[in-house]
Amino acid sequence: MKPIDSYHRAPWFNPIQNDSIGLFVRKLFCCINAIDSVIKRVSVRLNLSLRAFMTRQQLLLIYPLIMLMTGCAINDKGFTQLRHFENETSYMTTQKTWGGFISTRHSDRGLMLGHTERIKVYPKAEKNAQLPLDQFLQQVDSGNFVEISSKEINLGNMQPFAWIEKNQGIMFHANPIKIGFSAGIESRSVLRLPPDFDGVFIISGDQNGVVKAGVQRSLQQQ
C-alpha cells in the first residue's frame, strides 16, 4: 500500500495538469483539513482546561452538557423548534434548529451542523370547494395562517409543494434538489409540484417573513 503522501504527489492531483479535478479535490482537502484542525485545537484546549480543574466524574457530567448545548435534532425530535399552521387550503410548518440536525424527509434530506430554518407548505388532502379565480385570489390574500397544535395534523409522508430554507454552517445534502456538500451560508426557495397536479398553487413571502399560500385543485369556470 502506498503512503498517503504519494497520493498527494500523484500527477492527476496536480492543479496545473488537470485544473478542474485538481482544484476541486485540493480545495475540498484544504477545507476539510482546516475544519479538522480547528476542531482538534478547540477540543485539545477544552480538554486541557477542563482536566486542570475537574475529576473524571465531573468531566462525565460536563461532556453531555456540552453536547446538549451544541444541540442535536432528527426531523421533529430533539433540540428543534417546530410550529404548525393552517389556512383554508394548506398547512405550513416552520422549524428552527441549532447545532446538529438530521432530516430524513424527502424534500430536505441531509445533515446540517450550524443553524437552520425551514418553512414548508403542504396542500390539504381534502378537496376544497371550487371557487372562481378572483375569489380564490382574494381568499389567499386574506387567509393568514393560524397556528395549530401538532396533534391536530398528521403530515405523514406528504411532500410539500414549496419550502424555504436558510442554512448557516456545514451541510451535507441528499435530497432531489441537491446532493453534495456546502459550507457557509445558503438560502433557497423551492416549488415542487407533482406532474399530475391539476389546479392552482399560490405562494408569497414578504420582507417580514410572512408567508401566504393557497391550493385549489380546480377552478370554477367563469
Partner: protein, 147 residues
C-alpha cells in the same frame, strides 16, 4: 484510482439518466463553498464564493400523443436584496386549469396585478420601478406553456 473513476462514472450514469419528475422552480443563493449535484436537474456544480441561481423545470410527458410537456401557466416574481431579504410571489397553474387561464390574456394580467398587491411592478412597495441598486435583484417571469 480505478475505484474513484468507477464511482465517478456511476454517478455520471445516474445523473445522465435522470429526468425531471416534478414541476420545479428554484431560487437559491450560496455564499461559501459548495460541491453539489442534482438528480432533478442532472447537473453538477462547484462554487467557491457567492452564487445566485434561478431555474425552472417542466417535466416531459411519457405519453407524447397530445403534447411533449405538461401544461403550465405561471407568474413568478422574486425580489432579493442580500441573503436575508428575499421576497417572492408565485402563481402556478397546471393541467386543464392552465389551459383555461391562457385562453384569456386579460386573466393573466389580473392575476399578475393581484399577486403583486395591485401593483404593475414586481418590486415591493417603497421601491420605485427602476430602483434596483447594487446587490438587489429582481426577477420576473411569466411562463405560458400550453400542452
Amino acid at each position: 484510482m480505478k475505484i474513484l473513476l468507477l464511482k465517478l462514472g456511476f454517478i455520471c450514469l445516474l445523473l445522465s439518466g435522470c429526468q425531471a419528475t416534478h414541476l420545479v422552480y428554484v431560487h437559491g443563493t450560496t455564499m461559501g463553498l459548495e460541491v453539489a449535484a442534482s438528480t432533478e436537474t442532472a447537473t453538477g456544480r462547484l462554487v467557491f464564493g457567492y452564487d445566485r441561481e434561478t431555474f425552472a423545470l417542466i417535466p416531459r410527458k411519457k405519453d407524447k400523443q397530445e403534447s411533449d410537456a405538461m401544461s403550465l401557466a405561471a407568474i413568478s416574481c422574486i425580489y432579493a436584496q442580500g441573503l436575508d431579504d428575499v421576497q417572492f410571489k408565485h402563481f402556478v397553474s397546471t393541467g386543464e386549469t392552465a389551459k383555461n387561464i391562457v385562453k384569456h390574456p386579460d386573466t393573466i394580467i389580473d392575476i399578475r396585478k393581484s399577486i403583486q398587491g395591485g401593483s404593475e411592478s414586481c418590486l415591493p412597495s417603497g421601491n420605485g420601478a427602476g430602483n434596483t441598486g447594487k446587490g438587489k435583484e429582481e426577477s420576473e417571469n411569466t411562463i405560458k406553456k400550453e400542452g
